[in-house]
Symmetry: C2
């Protein structure tokens, strides 16, 4: 009863991912990868579930250096995992806090063919472990013959490069969000609250075929949002506002990360100047994002283009990042990130400027790095702000 | 610029939570709580953000045993946190992987008044740490004078008991989902796919005023869903199916967890018999859930009521759980969980039966434990299945 097309990918896609991971395991001297987070497990098995939302039951997948993945999961998930291509499924009756899969997982790790005595886990950069720390400690304590080491280097080296099938999912997520951004001037009017705009936007995303919508931010303030991380307010948008909408919408688990700005009524000269500057810095960044260039170099050129304004850059600390099964993935477009851009990377390029205290202009576009350049996946925002009246 | 009413709660609500936490810290011999996860930080500060979706930037809040909380956060969040009642906000320019707030947090812990030399963190039961494990290790290594211990006991003792203001949020989430469940027979017809039903359901939740909808499950199979954890399929619902819809919908961050079953066309006698049995076992559980009774006792009575059927119970491993800022919270309604039900607890009671191999009947209602009994927060499902044609 194995589905032929697992959440949009043929089985060969997953087998290819495991093959590449296994080649990297040799470089990293690992006997296996231990995966616990939704995105890493979905990456290898194609399983789609919102059960990660509950923290009662952890889920484990071992990808050994040779052979097929092993799923060690709560019994409640057995029938679901049986729909994927994983054949070796081991379960325990969960919840069982006194042994929440700990002994089963430890035994599975202990019985792996041992070449290096090292297993990579989600310990480091931009990773979160899908079980309590105390449980990991208990597992480590019960298998002294195996060292649990950081798998972040391998995981991101693998996941940073998207297959063309993955890029298609991201394109779909972008197309869905883009279709709704296009409609903003027709459903938003002066006097609407952030809360109403966000609700309408979310309804349209859903109607356009979005999957989960983990992030959707709407901020409107005089001359620009004072911050871009919080939930919506009841404040009505007013003449002179810059309306900012940013969404991490998914399709088959893959994200877009996509923002647009709208001028509400009249703009000041200062805002228009800042808008032009950010748009032009964006052009610089989008031209620079090419194979062989480092993430830091892309940042540097955009920041130089912006610094001529003489204003503070912004508090974001970076001007872009990778994108995939998570809203943000390595690399970061920032000074110090020497990751070399390579074909298959999908990068959000997002210059921002706090042109006056508490007035932010932030633009975001997404590119696919190709063999000989880059392809813009979003439709380029117009230099002239779209108007809302 | 402090909002008077922070995401639906007056400031006194948050101050009361900190007071109660501080009283418990003395019992648990802790100098502070270190919080990193969205729900725990929202619980104390009222901050609403989807920025936890990105794993690039960790967020830290210290609740000391005396005095006010301290936020140690990426600079990008400063303006948002300044809207909450927290006064002591310390920031670093994030991302900065070489020191992603580590030194700032270590210094803050080091400088806490030290009585016990112990700080409670999210290490244990049903908790996930909001930073990489390697970062926690670095912090622990740099403050040998302080022991980082498990804060799960305190956190859940505190959060298990809901204030009346919290219960109101859960009531709203339940009312929103309930209004959509009522409409199911009017927008679902034989031939619809799980994917379409789920999309329509999500659109209506949004229109009814839902916040984020982290979980929404739709499964339909002959005689009952074969599993209840996965994403939707294109399979059209057909005569003889039992259609199962389950949602974790939020309002101001608080969840409902709520399912309903619908008979598609004709039911077999076996399904009708199982449906009756689960409904009656539910009556038993709902009568049993009272202050002074343990979670295990509620499970035991429901499982006895079901076991007369002579079929396997189910693979869930429990028949209910707590509910609040997370979809599932302690306690678990299962053998072995000796948590005594107390006034203020909000408990989902969910008996289930796999009455034939791969045919599950699962019912879920939510109760508030009161001083002298329990109040049903959901509207009791009818014993007779609602029909879809």
């Amino acid at each position: 009863m194995i589905a032929d097309n697992l959440y949009g990918f043929p089985r060969a896609e997953y087998e290819g991912r495991v093959d590449r991971a296994q080649r990297l395991m040799k470089q990293y001297c690992l006997d296996a990868l231990l995966l616990t987070s939704m995105d890493n497990i979905r990456y290898f098995l194609g399983v789609d579930s919102t059960f990660w939302e509950t923290y009662t039951r952890p889920w484990f997948v071992l990808v050994p250096a040779e052979g097929k993945p092993i799923a060690i999961i709560p019994a409640i998930g057995e029938a679901l995992f049986a729909q994927t291509w994983v054949e070796d499924i081991r379960t325990w009756p969960s919840p069982r806090p006194e042994d929440e899969g700990t002994s089963l997982l430890a035994a599975a790790i202990r019985n792996l063919p041992r070449r290096y005595g090292r297993v990579g886990a989600e310990l480091g950069l931009e990773l979160r472990l899908g079980m309590p720390i105390l449980q990991l400690s208990a597992i480590i304590g019960s298998i002294p013959e195996v060292e649990i080491v950081d798998g972040a280097g391998l995981i991101w080296q693998l996941r940073m490069i998207k297959s063309s099938a993955e890029v298609e999912k991201i394109r779909r997520a972008i197309a869905i969000a883009g279709a709704v951004f296009d409609q903003v001037p027709s459903f938003v009017t002066i006097g609407d609250s952030e809360r109403k705009i966000l609700r309408d936007f979310r309804g349209l995303l859903n109607a356009e075929g979005a999957g989960a919508i983990p992030t959707l931010i709407c901020r409107s303030d005089v001359g620009g949002p004072f911050e871009i991380t919080g939930g919506p307010r009841d404040r009505p948008i007013a003449d002179g506002d810059l309306l900012f909408i940013d969404t991490g919408t998914t399709f088959d688990g893959y994200f877009c990360d996509y923002d647009r700005n709208y001028q509400v009524g009249r703009a000041t000269d200062a805002l228009r100047f800042a808008q032009d500057k950010v748009w032009e810095a964006h052009e610089v960044g989008l031209r620079k994002a090419r194979p062989g260039i480092t993430a830091a170099e892309v940042f540097k050129e955009m920041s130089e283009a912006l610094s001529s304004v003489g204003a503070d850059l912004n508090s974001n600390g970076r001007m872009g990042h990778g994108l995939g099964l998570r809203l943000t993935e390595p690399p970061s477009i920032r000074l110090g990130d020497e990751t070399v851009l390579q074909p298959g990377m999908v990068i959000c390029v997002e210059p921002a400027l706090e042109y006056e205290a508490g007035k932010i202009v932030l633009h975001e576009e997404t590119v696919l790095i190709t063999e000989d350049g880059a392809e813009l996946l979003t439709r380029r925002a117009p230099k002239q702000l779209v108007q809302i009246s």
